[in-house]
């Protein structure tokens, strides 16, 4: 097991260390939730309606952009050293994704804490369960970001693909309009969109009420989020396991 966890722990720590040494990232980490909370929280009367979507958006962007560190690692040559070492590919993915996911989940938890005033605004909220849920969602998004950063080594291309895929996924996740309000074809799209389940799970964790006829049962969101996290991790490990010219860009 040592050969798995020693490299994975190193990559995890390195991710946190590099985050900490880059003060602009730390400022963004602490500032974004506060700004979000002040602007959105005071501007909306129906804040609770949008809170799950705002939390998903925060964790999504934070996770995906943490995964961008892979592009930097590639540019600096660090990735080549990792790939030429005997560290198992799964350990590489686990270490980097765990580091990125922890940063993203922590940032979102700060937002969650501020937005619920430590839970007092939402007496039915289960903050412990929400924290665990945010970690799972962060893992899924970080692993997806890792995969995209692996396949698209240019920062510009990475941004373009993120905007192309993830922003629409978030828009049709129920963050803006609910499942029941949408057309039948849109409802189908929403039901195959994994982000819908992340959003749904957070709404449940906050103890928000659902309208009658809500089509998603209480356990399904947790299952979908967990499966998404595992699948993205495994796919990422499988993809980087193939020797290719991509290693050398």
């Amino acid at each position: 097991m040592n050969r798995y966890w020693i490299p994975a722990c190193m990559l995890f720590q390195r991710e946190l260390l590099r985050f900490w040494r880059e003060k602009s990232r730390v400022a963004g980490f602490a500032g974004t939730p506060v700004v979000f909370w002040l602007v959105v929280g005071s501007g909306y009367s129906d804040f609770a309606r949008f809170l799950p979507g705002a939390l998903v958006l925060t964790v999504m962007f934070s996770a995906i952009f943490s995964a961008m560190s892979l592009i930097e690692d590639r540019k600096e040559g660090f990735l080549l050293c990792v790939l030429a070492s005997p560290a198992p590919r799964l350990a590489i993915v686990l270490g980097k994704v765990a580091g990125g996911a922890l940063i993203a989940a922590s940032q979102t938890m700060v937002f969650l804490f501020l937005a619920t005033l430590g839970g007092t605004l939402y007496p039915n909220a289960q903050l412990g369960a929400l924290a665990g849920l945010l970690v799972l969602i962060a893992i899924a998004f970080t692993a997806a970001g890792f995969l995209i950063a692996w396949l698209i080594p240019s920062p510009q291309g990475f941004h373009a693909i993120i905007n192309l895929i993830f922003v629409p996924l978030w828009m049709i996740s129920g963050a803006i309009f609910s499942l029941q309000q949408s057309h039948a074809w849109m409802r189908w799209l929403m039901l195959v969109n994994p982000v819908t389940y992340a959003q749904d799970a957070i709404a449940r964790g906050l103890g928000l009420p659902f309208a009658d006829g809500h089509p998603i049962g209480p356990l399904i969101p947790i299952v979908v989020v967990s499966v998404s996290a595992i699948v993205t991790l495994v796919v990422a490990a499988m993809v980087i396991n193939r020797p290719s010219e991509r290693n050398l860009l």
């Binding site: 020693i6 660090f78 080549l80 030429a84 290693n247």
Partner: protein
């Protein structure tokens, strides 16, 4: 046996189409490369840019899979047993791959972790590797404060932590000044002698290649020649005469039929490998003196070995 490579071939998949014609694939980057490294020696992979050195390097470091042929490193198959191969090799890439935001020690610690080393054992290995590369006093310096030569040494120290049997270095002297280059090769030789590690370094500098124990000379994806530098030069025999002439082609055809001569014309220079250069120079001055602007002779060098093997001048 440290390396056994058999008929390695690789072609980068970037097909191009000319007009409406069929897709044309570029020339293979590596074509039927076969060689063996039996004992720990200092080996230079010599060739100009584009000769296939880097592709061979990438295959030996398991970052690319050969499309044809096979290779073993320390008895492990490169494709089937890539993890075992990676445990046996230490790799220094052409571009610096140290993390500039970390200190030398932090960089070495990260590298040691990748090889499953940690704790007291790793600290000890880091101290030993730093000593071997005379870096002990720099361990806690930020990498970005180090000179190019010191960074290279730090990179080599990083590859020594897991005590590899084969060090692979891709153009390790690129970007270094002449003094740092000399130092680098001094360290490589020292490692080969004291640690008994085989060192395979690619280079396009003939003077670097000349101090190695064995040369692999690459040309257009093929292994054009291999051997120890001195015997390779001696095998050419005699001397090399270069004659600058504005009638080089004619002069070449005059000299070509002579027995024991190997004649080639490159631009306005006739290049002759011959057993007795002083006699040739004397005879030519008398018979074709008016065609000749300049004549010079020298003992065969690695540049001549390269020319003899490839038909091309060595242009790094």
């Amino acid at each position: 046996m440290i390396v056994r490579a058999e008929s390695l071939g690789y072609r980068y998949p970037v097909p191009r189409r000319r007009g409406n014609g069929p897709l044309v694939f570029p020339k293979p980057a590596l074509n039927g490369v076969t060689f063996q490294v039996e004992e720990p020696r200092l080996i230079a992979l010599l060739g100009p840019n584009g000769s296939g050195k880097s592709t061979l390097f990438r295959i030996l470091t398991t970052l690319l899979s050969p499309q044809t042929g096979r290779a073993e490193v320390c008895g492990f198959d490169l494709q089937r047993d890539a993890l075992a191969v990676r445990r046996q090799i230490g790799v220094v890439f052409q571009e610096s791959s140290l993390d500039r935001k970390l200190t030398v020690r932090e960089n070495l610690t990260c590298a040691g972790n990748l090889y499953g080393l940690q704790g007291v054992a790793l600290v000890k290995r880091i101290d030993q590797a730093a000593q071997q590369m005379d870096l002990s006093s720099r361990l806690d310096h930020d990498v970005q404060t180090l000179s190019g030569g010191l960074r290279r040494r730090a990179e080599i120290a990083r590859t020594l932590l897991h005590q590899p049997r084969l060090l692979l270095l891709d153009e390790p002297s690129s970007g270094l000044d002449p003094l740092a280059r000399r130092e680098l090769w001094h360290y490589l030789r020292r490692l080969q002698v004291t640690e008994g590690v085989a060192v395979l370094a690619s280079t396009h500098f003939l003077d670097e290649a000349a101090q190695c124990d064995w040369l692999l000379i690459m040309h257009e994806g093929r292994l054009a020649a291999q051997g120890a530098p001195d015997p390779l030069c001696e095998d050419l025999g005699g001397e090399v005469v270069e004659i600058v002439s504005d009638r080089a082609a004619e002069l070449g055809s005059v000299l070509a039929p002579r027995a024991g001569f190997h004649v080639a014309v490159v631009d306005d220079v006739v290049r002759v490998e011959c057993p007795n250069a002083p006699a040739l120079i004397g005879n030519l001055s008398a018979s074709h003196g008016e065609w000749i602007q300049e004549m010079r002779m020298h003992r065969p060098s690695l540049a001549d070995v390269y020319f003899h093997a490839t038909g091309d001048l060595f242009r790094p």
